[in-house]
């Protein structure tokens, strides 16, 4: 069985009869491991890029934290409530008016300007953080 972490992977093949070659890809696509039946090789790194474990979305944790704090303040949630990147606004008790107010608050906080269509599609905290990052990097 194979278990893959961000930086290394160990392969043990299942069949003993024929040559099985299993290629698996890690999150960051720069670690490829090859295992031959009967033996298990240590992972071969095909590229020399640093294999940090990277979150696959574009937003930094600080941005996500700021978005979470603005959401908490707008919806009057207690400090220890669970607001993560995956929380949907609707599940936190926000209606569409609240969502508009949150987007306004984010515009003021980050000094960006969100268009109408992009604002309609924001449903989770992570969406908002990604959009913010994209707009900040475009400026």
């Amino acid at each position: 069985m194979a278990s893959i972490t961000g930086s290394s992977s160990l392969m043990a093949s299942l069949s003993c009869n024929k040559l099985t070659q299993t290629l698996t890809r890690a999150y960051n696509f720069n670690v490829v491991s090859v295992a031959v039946s009967g033996k298990s090789f240590p992972s071969l790194k095909l590229s020399s890029a640093p294999s940090r474990f990277r979150v696959s979305c574009a937003a930094t944790p600080e941005t996500v934290d700021k978005v979470c704090s603005i959401v908490r303040k707008q919806l009057a949630l207690p400090e220890d409530s669970a607001v993560t990147g995956e929380s949907k606004f609707a599940s936190l008790g926000a209606d569409s008016l609240d969502t508009v107010e949150i987007v306004m608050g984010l515009e003021e906080e980050f000094g960006i300007s969100v268009e109408e269509e992009s604002a309609q599609t924001i449903a989770t905290v992570q969406d908002a953080a990604d959009l913010i990052e994209k707009l900040i990097s475009k400026n």
């Binding site: 008016l97 508009v100 987007v103 306004m104 109408e116």
Partner: protein
């Protein structure tokens, strides 16, 4: 006009909040924001199409007022900013 759709109402809300930002005067800015939020929440539960349409056209005329007035106020913006605008 016919009953406004949900998107139009949200878009009106957003336009009103954006127009509030153009005011140089802190008090008017805050009042515009507060008043739009309060009135939209108050009318959130309306179900009768004619009253929804009436509230919507009301909001549209208020938006025109806010846009005109923000231009006029900007012409004579005070040089000394309100204390609330100065970040600590």
């Amino acid at each position: 006009m016919a009953t406004p759709s949900r998107t139009e109402i949200i878009s009106l809300f957003r336009s009103l909040l954006r127009s509030a930002r153009q005011f140089p005067d802190y008090n008017i800015r805050e009042y515009t924001k507060r008043r739009t939020i309060d009135s939209f929440r108050h009318n959130k539960t309306l179900s009768d199409p004619s009253s929804i349409a009436a509230a919507f056209s009301d909001g549209q005329s208020q938006l025109q007022v806010a846009r005109r007035q923000s231009v006029v106020y900007s012409l004579y913006a005070p040089k000394i900013k309100s204390i609330m605008d100065v970040k600590p």
